[in-house]
């Protein structure tokens, strides 16, 4: 829905792209408005590499309290989408989001329901068509889905593995920051006795920390490493030797990592300083060497 055709203009298409995070699973498929019935979207494989399109992006947020909509707000702004690559399997695109301006708060919550919409707090890097009636907007951090009513969207999913991929030149200009790797060290099993409530509280702290970094476009990537296994490979004389590791005695081991953006070590330290991991172990911080070409 919400892809509004502007008639004959195909290249400078004014569309409404609703960026969405699915809040409730109910309503995700049934969100249809009258407007959507007439709306056709011009995103289809007729796009060519190098095409550029202007859309209108609507970010909506709906908070529910006790199952009832409490606060609804939306903001809109231009979004320029350019096609980096087009093939049978879909598009690889990048976009730039202009300044958004908030709409008035919707007076009638029921009529304007968009139960599946919430805008991301940061600029997405690319999107691809991944299934019928849905466009995946993929960023290095999260996946969110735009539902479109247009049947012309192709059911495709070929372009996997783009998380953490190269941002376009625009984004490169916007954040010429260095990247730092945070290595989270800890003793395996040190959290085993936490209660469910304590576990939840800790997860929420991490979530808040991540969200803060994401909102400021400082978070690139994070992953946990497997608890079990681990090998250390070394060359001893003429032959390779492997030992199980990295458990050198019961020392702290790296259990996971994050990659963040920061101007320098000072900022990286400051960003890591309220990481909820700290009570459980140290965080090693190393700058990633891009050979002078950040995020290359």
């Amino acid at each position: 829905m919400n892809f509004v055709s502007s008639g004959q203009q195909t290249n400078r298409l004014i569309s409404t792209i609703a960026l969405a995070v699915i809040l409730t699973s109910a309503g995700a498929s049934s969100a249809q408005s009258d407007e959507a019935k007439t709306a056709e979207i011009a995103i289809r494989p007729t796009w060519k590499a190098g095409d550029s399109h202007r859309h209108e992006r609507v970010k909506s947020r709906r908070t529910t309290v006790g199952g009832k909509p409490a606060v609804e707000s939306s903001a809109r702004g231009p979004i320029d989408v350019s096609v980096v690559e087009a093939g049978e399997k879909g598009f690889l695109t990048r976009w730039r989001i202009g300044e958004t301006t908030p709409d008035d708060v919707t007076p009638d919550g029921a009529a304007q329901r968009r139960p599946w919409m919430i805008g991301p707090a940061h600029a997405p890097d690319r999107f691809r068509i991944s299934s019928q009636n849905a466009v995946d907007l993929r960023t290095t951090r999260s996946l969110f889905v735009v539902r479109a009513t247009n049947r012309a969207l192709y059911a495709l999913g070929g372009r996997g593995g783009h998380r953490g991929g190269r941002p376009g030149p625009n984004s490169r200009k916007e954040r010429p920051m260095a990247q730092f790797m945070l290595l989270l060290e800890g003793k395996p099993g040190s959290l085993a006795s936490l209660s469910p409530t304590e576990i939840q509280a800790l997860i929420e702290k991490y979530h808040a920390w991540r969200s803060k970094l994401e909102a400021a476009d400082k978070m690139v990537y994070g992953r946990k490493l497997m608890d079990e296994g681990g090998k250390v490979l070394s060359k001893q004389g003429n032959r390779l030797a492997t030992v199980d590791g990295p458990y050198v005695e019961t020392k702290e081991v790296v259990g996971g990592f994050f990659v963040i953006r920061a101007a320098d070590y000072d900022e990286a330290l400051q960003l890591a300083s309220d990481c909820p991991h700290l009570p459980f172990g140290p965080i090693g911080i190393r700058q990633i060497d891009f050979m002078g070409n950040p995020e290359a």
């Binding site: 699973s25 991301p120 996946l143 006795s193 469910p196 929420e204 946990k224």
Partner: protein, 446 residues
């Protein structure tokens, strides 16, 4: 995928999702593995929770957290069943294993909406409150197995050493095994009486939390919340939605509505008479009154009905002086008739003071049967002291305040009594509550 993390101001996880989901999974797994494998099920659930703790910070919170946790727990349980024999009857182990595996595989993934509370969890509550168990053990086990509390949390809530709580739970589990308790709802003819012991434990939980002037405030607030949550679930299940369940729920909601006004900014005790009633939680009062309505749909009149009635009179009174005191008094009269105890009689006397004056009330207190059992009960002496002071018998009042201070009482209550004693010595007028009265909560606590 981490959908919700683009909206940091929206709460990522429902309050107590982990606690309640742990309880739900524990019940579901125990139902399938057999209650004798309760500890195994606990391990599995804890493992699933820890896995979330290790993964989610890096990968983001999944779209359906409950479904994620259930799936992980289910897979771990399946793995366990396949790897080792967990069943007592060896000759049937293989056969049972196949059944259990099939059942586990079918364990549903919940939608991430609403609070799950299925048959399994209801059965678990009844198992935790099996008549073979002492009430202390029932309380601990209910919190552990039906509510998802950890042993340290229970210990903090009851100001009891962890080892004691752990021991209680171990013994309770052993008893459950010895008695061959199965995880099933009681037979319909036994259900109402089995429900009594469940309600009793829920109210015990609530009162532990409500007397929150000692111990870890946060965890005690949780106790009130948990008791209300459990009663609310019972009141929504057709099997257990008896009038007495509604009555208990109403009672707790109405009492909890006053929690925000019970302490001032400095953390000092504020008596019912002096509470800022605009701080009372109107939503809780509303819910309480609604459930009180449901409670009156049968002919059974329990102590919860009467106590909820008293709480309701207070809840709807615009201020202390214009409270329907004769109404309160008559409810206390009924309460004395069904549950005569010195504490109830003392609370009745407080209402009596508002209706008939301090002299009559004082006489009523001195006539309480078994008054001696309240010798160490601070509220007895404090009430007598206030009445005596109002009657101008200062010397007697002073010694009664001193007796109150020598009794067991919380720190804020002690400071409160010291201020009273000071007022008495400095001949400042009678305490305000005989324009007002000490909060006569159902169990005599302020």
């Amino acid at each position: 995928m981490s959908a919700p993390d683009s909206a940091p101001e929206v709460h990522a996880l429902v309050d107590h999702l982990f606690r309640h989901h742990a309880a739900a999974m524990l019940s579901a797994l125990s139902r399938r593995l057999g209650l004798e494998n309760l500890e195994l099920a606990e391990e599995v659930v804890q493992d699933a929770m820890l896995q979330a703790l290790r993964l989610w910070p890096h990968h983001g919170i999944p779209e359906n957290p409950r479904g994620w946790l259930t799936q992980v727990a289910r897979n771990k349980a399946l793995d366990l069943v396949r790897r080792r024999s967990v069943f007592r009857r060896k000759q049937r182990a293989l056969e049972e294993r196949a059944v259990v595996e099939a059942e586990l595989a079918q364990l549903g993934l919940p939608e991430d909406a609403g609070d799950p509370f299925g048959d399994d969890q209801l059965a678990m509550i009844f198992a935790c409150n099996h008549p073979a168990l002492a009430s202390e053990a029932r309380v601990a086990l209910t919190l552990k197995a039906a509510c998802g509390f950890s042993v340290p949390e229970i210990a903090r809530a009851f100001l009891t050493p962890e080892a004691t709580i752990a021991q209680r739970i171990v013994r309770a589990k052993r008893l459950i095994r010895e008695q061959d308790v199965t995880l099933a709802l009681p037979e319909p003819d036994q259900l109402p009486s089995r429900l009594d012991s469940v309600l009793q434990v829920i109210y015990l939980l609530f009162n532990e939390g409500y007397a929150a002037h000692r111990g870890d405030a946060l965890i005690r607030q949780d106790l009130c919340g948990e008791a209300i949550w459990l009663a609310d679930r019972l009141a929504h299940r057709p099997e257990t939605a008896l009038p007495k369940s509604h009555a208990l729920l109403a009672l707790m909601l109405l009492q909890a509505s006053r929690l925000p006004a019970r302490q001032d900014e400095a953390g000092e005790l504020v008596l019912l008479a002096d509470q800022d009633r605009s701080l009372w939680d109107a939503a809780l009062i509303h819910r309480g009154l609604r459930h009180l309505g449901h409670a009156s749909e049968g002919d059974e009149m329990t102590v919860y009905h009467l106590q909820a009635g008293i709480a309701a009179v207070h809840a709807v009174a615009p201020d202390h002086a214009s409270t329907d005191w004769p109404g309160v008094l008559s409810l206390y009269d009924s309460l004395c008739a069904v549950a005569d105890s010195p504490v109830v009689a003392l609370n009745r006397a407080v209402a009596l003071a508002m209706v008939a004056g301090p002299a009559v009330a004082l006489a009523a207190i001195d006539a309480i049967h078994d008054l001696r059992t309240l010798e160490r009960y601070a509220l007895l002496h404090a009430t007598r002291a206030d009445l005596l002071l109002t009657l101008g018998r200062r010397d007697e009042a002073e010694s009664a305040y001193c007796a109150a201070l020598e009794s067991i009482c919380s720190e804020p209550a002690r400071r409160f009594l010291e201020r009273r004693l000071d007022d008495c010595r400095r001949r400042i007028g009678a305490p305000g509550w005989l324009a007002g009265v000490i909060a006569p909560t159902a169990n005599g606590r302020v």
